[in-house]
């Protein structure tokens, strides 16, 4: 497949780097300022080096990528709330040209799911977004395989940063600010970790799951989620939980047409108390009971591999 990759952050860059290994060719690549287009495939190493050194991927205008020859648009620009722009317009343009779309950007499917599906219905193209929930973990693809109508609940940990902070607080008896500063030093938490710790990022993922489960009956956006963060938790609250064999994790619950995110008491060594930056999700489905998926979720190469898995599925 010929890929057009939008966004040159950790995920977009990793997709460019790993595409060839998966048998794909990147014919266009753009960040917010610049673009590079080559019908024979761009030189991934050279372009990524240029991005590192000069801060741009090429000399062309970002608009040029839409005129390139490509089969799949990979949308990996930063997630935005509300109108989900500019990601949404990128999806719109690719679908208008009957191209397929693979999203790493959560915005379009969390904030404008119905719009995306309506555009898809008008197009020859297909939209896939497995990378938006749990990165490399096969959460949406498992729901797809089981059948959304057979899934009664999805719950668990979907943010590695919040999970790292809480598992460190529990292990060391330290307070929130202290552990967060440590996480930032380690590069686990971003300079501005607001969306990770206030539950927004987790909620966006929960909303995407809810949209998939409702199969078009009800549209969910971030506004429909009940969201509480972990900023107010103290070390002594985690101690109290531990005395009872439990711990506290930032949990998303998608069930009965509702999305709730907040700190929850869970069994200390249970299925939804992963350690460090791991994610852990339980899917409850008719006949097959509870399915658990645990592992390293986010990260550039991890999410890029999920993107390339979606590209693979489109090729089939």
């Amino acid at each position: 497949m010929r890929l057009c990759v939008l966004g040159a952050g950790a995920v977009g860059s990793a997709v460019v780097e790993l595409a060839a290994e998966h048998g794909h060719v990147v014919t266009a690549f753009a960040d917010s300022e610049s673009a590079v287009v080559d019908a024979d495939g761009i030189d991934a190493d050279a372009v990524l080096a240029k991005k590192q050194e000069d801060g741009v991927v090429g000399e062309a205008d970002p608009e040029a990528v839409f005129d390139a020859d490509y089969d799949v648009l990979v949308e990996a620009t930063p997630t935005t709330l509300g109108d989900a722009e500019p990601g949404f317009s990128h999806v719109e343009r690719a679908l208008a040209d009957d191209r397929d779309v693979v999203l790493a950007n959560k915005g379009p499917v969390a904030e404008r799911y119905a719009d995306v599906r309506a555009l898809e219905a008008e197009s020859e193209g297909t939209v896939r977004f497995g990378a938006t929930v749990g990165g490399a973990l096969p959460i949406l693809s498992t729901i797809e395989d089981v059948g959304p109508s057979r899934v009664s609940a999805v719950y668990g940990v979907l943010n590695g940063t919040a999970n790292f902070v809480l598992s460190r607080m529990a292990a060391e008896g330290l307070d929130y600010e202290h552990v967060l500063a440590e996480a930032q030093d380690l590069g686990v938490a971003e300079a501005d970790p607001t969306f990770d710790v206030d539950g927004t990022d987790t909620a966006l993922k929960g909303v995407i799951v809810a949209n998939v489960l409702s199969e078009g009956e009800t549209e969910f956006t971030l506004d429909d989620a009940d969201v509480e963060g972990i900023q107010e938790l103290s070390g002594s609250m985690l101690d109290l939980a531990q005395e009872d064999g439990q711990t506290i994790r930032l949990i998303v619950e998608v069930a009965d047409g509702a999305v709730r995110v907040g700190p929850r008491l869970v069994p200390g060594h249970g299925a939804v108390a992963p350690s460090g930056t791991e994610n852990a999700v339980q899917i409850e489905a008719d006949y097959c009971g509870r399915l658990g998926i645990t592992g390293q979720g986010a990260g550039g190469p991890e999410t890029a591999s999920a993107v390339l898995t979606d590209v693979e599925r489109l090729a089939d």
Partner: protein
């Protein structure tokens, strides 16, 4: 108080019957005599106890005072009552509250929880590292009536909201209490 006593509640009776014809019917007679409403009978015919009795689980509805009469009537009739109504609080829930717990009157918080009537507090563990005037946290263990978890948690949210306390709920989605 009369209101409380007129409240019909569901109760579970666990009986052990002698393996003889007519015993099951005989055990139901006191329930009918004292105005209990039979909900279900689970007759474990193949599951004889080590002493040779047959366990039977009977769910009934009755007012609390009628229920007492039923248990008395069963004992009078020589029926072994193994458990009477103790199934009422069958779900264990743990919550953590944090904030100005002591300043907002911890004992009033407890009274409010008990006042929900669906739950009773079985254990409290308080952590006040900075003394009574600062923020403290407490873990509450609740025994909730079966099927009332959501109701109990909704009441907890209200109490926490009113007293400006932070509530950490247990994960209850997906049938795990």
């Amino acid at each position: 108080m009369s209101e409380v006593h007129n409240d019909v509640q569901a109760y579970t009776l666990r009986l052990e019957l002698v393996d003889e014809p007519g015993e099951l019917l005989r055990s139901l007679q006191p329930i009918a005599d004292h105005g209990g409403n039979l909900l279900s009978i689970f007759h474990e015919r193949g599951n004889v106890t080590p002493r040779g009795y047959i366990p039977v689980e009977v769910d009934i509805e009755a007012t609390p005072d009628r229920f007492d009469n039923i248990v008395e009537g069963l004992s009078d009739a020589g029926i072994n009552v193994i458990q009477a109504g103790t199934e009422r609080y069958s779900e264990r829930l743990t919550i953590i509250l944090s904030g100005h717990l002591i300043e907002t009157d911890l004992s009033d918080t407890l009274t409010q929880i008990e006042a929900t009537r669906n739950a009773t507090v079985t254990d409290i563990s308080l952590s006040a590292p900075a003394g009574s005037i600062d923020v403290s946290s407490a873990r509450f263990q609740l025994a909730a009536e079966s099927g009332s978890t959501e109701k109990v948690l909704a009441a907890m949210r209200e109490i926490a909201d009113e007293k400006d306390l932070q509530l950490v709920e247990p994960l209850t989605v997906g049938g795990r209490a």
